[in-house]
Subunit: 429 residues, 2 copies
């Protein structure tokens, strides 16, 4: 309520100041930007062989259609017995049991165990009828072909798995939107899913812009630079589990950029236009994005540093991004803003990625401006088993600062800085 009043007063105070006002309102705070992610449609599902499903995102829930194990089995090498026949057994007073058979792996025993009887069984072997437990081979001694001594008692159920003890038929096991780790792949194998429905990997179109940018394999003339962003962004896209598709470099020509952007938009699930750090190029990008079919600019500037000059638009259910041209800014915007949008269209459940943030002790003071969220590159240093985060300062055009960086820390929009010794959460790069 207090906030609403403040905002109203603010609007009354500033209303009608024209261009300045417009510029001011253009900048969106990070949480607001991230709330646009669910606007975009996740990609379609496809069926892939289980052997190719690792790390993919499940597109349907998985319910067990069998029990696991689907027969009672031994978890040890030893003798299948009735537990009651071993009660009270010790080294000094062993229990004597008659061996009536041996259970072959992968076969159903054709006999049952009575009191005072035992059968040789291996790990994974099927428990015969009448047996409820397994005596470990180490706790027994074979006397002759037909009898053993048992030196320790076992409880019913000991050293065995009962039917459905691992997975019960009908149990809900995995959910759509979950990323398949090795163990989930193993479970699907156990249930006999030779193929699995997963979300397609989103394709992400990458366009570099700038009259000064030349392809990486060309020697730059004076004043020119090689295209770096295509490579950093392709790596980031792969890391996010999507497929990067490069559309090369577009000079600062609005028609060329529109044509390339239109092509990328028609062929991929998201478009990243990088470069355009100068106001002129940024205006181009905005103009081109605005000219896309059914497009609307959602974000024109984000209150983060580095990365403020970021544009997000929607065009026919796909997002089109104008990223800053400085390599560090573009990478940081990718990590903190673009990645969550890729996760969403990948079909990943919210919270489906357990975010990995390492706590570390900040080893010097950092100042920060209020009114924006700062992302600081840090190097992680192990000091006697205690992780320290050392800020790396440097302009956002300097790639060497990213080579040195192990992670990023966030300084909140209402924070003026952090003191040396503060415990910070480091997002790994």
């Amino acid at each position: 309520m207090g906030f609403w009043l403040d905002e109203t007063l603010f609007n009354i105070h500033y209303r009608g100041q024209g261009q300045l006002m417009k510029e001011f309102f253009k900048v969106t705070d990070l949480p607001t930007v991230l709330r646009y992610a669910p606007l975009f449609k996740p990609v379609a599902a496809e069926e892939v062989p289980l052997s190719q499903a690792f790390e993919r995102i499940l597109a349907a829930d998985i319910v067990a259609d069998i029990d696991l194990p689907d027969f009672p089995k031994s978890t040890m090498d030893g003798y299948a017995v009735r537990a009651s026949a071993t009660f009270g057994a010790t080294e000094g007073n062993p229990a004597y049991l008659n061996i009536i058979g041996s259970i072959d792996m992968g076969e159903t025993p054709n006999f049952s165990i009575g009191s005072g009887q035992a059968a040789r069984i291996s790990t994974g072997g099927m428990l015969p009828d009448g047996a409820d437990s397994v005596v470990m081979i180490e706790h027994s001694e074979r006397l002759d072909d037909t009898s053993i001594e048992v030196y320790r008692s076992v409880a019913p159920g000991q050293n065995t798995l009962e039917l459905g003890e691992d997975i019960q038929k009908g149990a809900s096991l995995l959910s759509s939107g979950q990323r398949l780790r090795p163990q989930e792949a193993g479970l699907l194998a156990a249930l006999g899913h030779s193929s699995v429905g997963v979300y397609k990997k989103p394709t992400i179109g990458i366009i570099s812009t700038g009259d000064e940018v030349v392809p990486m394999d060309v020697k730059p003339a004076p004043g020119q630079i090689r295209d770096i962003n295509t490579y950093t962004l392709s790596g980031l896209v792969s890391k996010a589990g999507a497929i990067p598709i490069s559309y090369g470099i577009v000079k600062d020509d609005i028609d060329d950029l529109f044509e390339k952007c239109h092509l990328a938009h028609s062929q991929t699930d998201m478009v990243l236009i990088s470069g355009g750090s100068s106001v002129g190029t940024r205006d181009f990008t905005v103009e081109v994005i605005s000219a896309m079919a059914d497009s609307r600019i959602l974000v024109h500037g984000i209150s983060i540093s580095p990365g403020k000059p970021t544009i997000l638009a929607e065009s026919q259910n796909k997002s089109v991004w104008g990223l800053p041209g400085h390599v560090v800014s573009a990478m940081i915007v990718f990590y903190v803003v673009v990645s969550p949008f890729i996760e969403h269209i990948s079909g990943l459940s919210p919270g489906g990625n357990k975010s990995i943030k390492l706590p570390a002790i900040l080893n010097r003071n950092i100042s920060s401006a209020q009114g924006r969220t700062d992302f600081i590159r840090v190097r992680l240093i192990d000091r006697n088993g205690q992780l320290n985060a050392e800020p790396i300062l440097g302009k956002s055009g300097l790639i060497h600062t990213m080579l040195q960086a192990d992670g990023l820390i966030e300084i909140g929009i209402n924070t003026e800085g952090l003191d040396k010794g503060t415990v910070v959460d480091v997002m790994l790069l």
Copy 2:
């Protein structure tokens, strides 16, 4: 010295106790096992296009052969000036400068800046001779076609990058054995490396054994189970950056196993034989491995739990592993033992993977036996921003415990257990 004496006494005391002694000495502690990794030869290098080098491991050092930037440039949109001409400028007392030109992106300016002169420049534009700084466009106002007012002074070097400010020619930038992140790919692009020398991805042969094991796409008869380990291990191998190659299932037949093991050994860089959790099958595996060319068994049992019945052998510079058959044991042995060997043969520098261990608060007591290292599966729970680790107990044959697990914690060989409230390091699964 004290240790040497104790060991001698120990040997004198136990010498000649035959089989029991042999069994005792078979079990190797984890650090000793890990020290075998450098025995094995890293894979060969290959040249790949830069666009495919992401996440690969560099096979040569990279030294800068150019300066970056290789011309002085602007990092802002504004006016290239001599800083001295702006000294003392304020809103109330602006500096007046004559505009003598505009610098096109990607071109070399054909004029130089004198005192009292300025040229329009965009972010990334080449600084003309005579200019040493850039006034941001926001801190200036254009009066007419040929003059501006400047409201703030700039220092020499402000809003510019000088030649080599990012990367200096001759600087050592990247080292062999380093994994290429997006920023390293970007650096290589900046230096014009259209291809890059990286280590090949190791290939890892996977053999499942057991009379009771059937292929995943076959319906198991009573007493049979589907092959799970091929899928969990393939996922783990991929996650470790290597290429899994499945050799299917071998029944408990020593000749078949030898033949398959020989084939896998000749075609891949490492062989994993899984299954054989029963003593009988394990003996088979040992016999087969011993029969391989120039083989020697290095480890026959590791003092870890789960995962004790693990075999490591060397055959012609390659490692051959007998992994436990229980799915959880095999996965944990992979994480804590096999992975470091794969990293080594992948060419990764020691310490090249910053190990990701999340601190969390143990939320219940755990007991552990001395004389072995225990690995406990845990679920991570966020309690008001504080990460808690909740142990998941359950037999090592139960895959559902791995589905619930987010990570592992280690309980040292000399520790009897951990109390609730202890801060533990969680290795993510």
